[in-house]
């Protein structure tokens, strides 16, 4: 069944031609560069990383 699931997922994802994106790679880079920095987003991201780290340290060993 594992191999069959792999085959089916490949069929869905790979048999169809990837539709063209709404933005090119260059436009994407421009968007990423232009996006204003949000201090709040940075703080939330750091908190997320900290939470994941604490969770991995406090997770009981199996």
């Amino acid at each position: 069944v594992d191999e069959e699931v792999r085959r089916l997922l490949r069929r869905v994802a790979e048999d169809e031609t990837l539709p063209p994106s709404t933005v090119s790679d260059a436009e994407l880079l421009e968007k990423a560069r232009d996006k204003p920095t949000s201090a709040l987003a940075d703080v939330l991201s750091l908190l997320g990383a900290l939470r994941r780290r604490i969770r991995s340290l406090t997770r009981p060993a199996r």
Binding site: D2, V5, R6, A13, T22, V23, L29, A32, T37, R62
Partner: protein, 170 residues
């Protein structure tokens, strides 16, 4: 957080060229909509660019990009659910073995019956060929959860896709 310098930007551009299609196909398997998959991939790559300098280059950007993509897909599913965009009744899955594009539609309908987390786990484990540990890291859960959710999701898919999964069965 400092924005990447020219060298880092070149490395990021190279990564985008190399990984964008795969991320987009992963997103499509997780959400079932090419347009949304494109948007979620763009969002993921923009986030990745902004964190590029903080990424451990020994590990590479893929684990972080995958984690962000899964987060974006699940957030988008939650948003859709809140705004009642999801179908109230899950689509019917035909019982006869399908062919060609019909088979793709049946598989997508079956995937749509899984919850966002189960669906992400199945896609990462069986399409991206990630290990249980890598999947747990990407989805933000324990290895035990990956194993149990994967087991349940496979049972659901087996029940829904019986003839498609086992086409030679009588």
């Amino acid at each position: 957080m400092a924005k990447p310098d020219d060298e880092a930007t070149a490395a990021f551009t190279h990564y985008v060229r190399e990984a964008r299609a795969r991320l987009q196909r992963t997103a499509y398997l997780m959400c079932g909509d090419w347009q949304l998959a494109d948007d979620l991939t763009q969002e993921t790559l923009i986030t990745l660019y902004r964190r590029w300098s903080a990424i451990d280059q020994n590990i590479g950007p893929t684990p972080y990009a995958t984690r962000v993509l899964v987060h974006n897909v699940r957030r988008s599913a939650k948003r859709a659910w809140r705004s009642h965009e999801v179908m109230m009744t899950p689509p019917e899955v035909p019982q006869d073995p399908p062919h060609g594009s019909e088979e793709r539609a049946v598989i997508l309908k079956a995937l749509a019956r899984l919850g966002p987390r189960q669906r992400a786990i199945i896609v990462l484990r069986y399409w991206q060929d990630m290990s249980v540990e890598q999947t747990a890291e990407a989805v933000g859960c324990t290895r035990g959860t990956v194993t149990s959710q994967s087991h349940r999701a496979l049972a659901t898919l087996r029940a829904l896709l019986g003839p498609t999964l086992n086409p030679t069965d009588p």
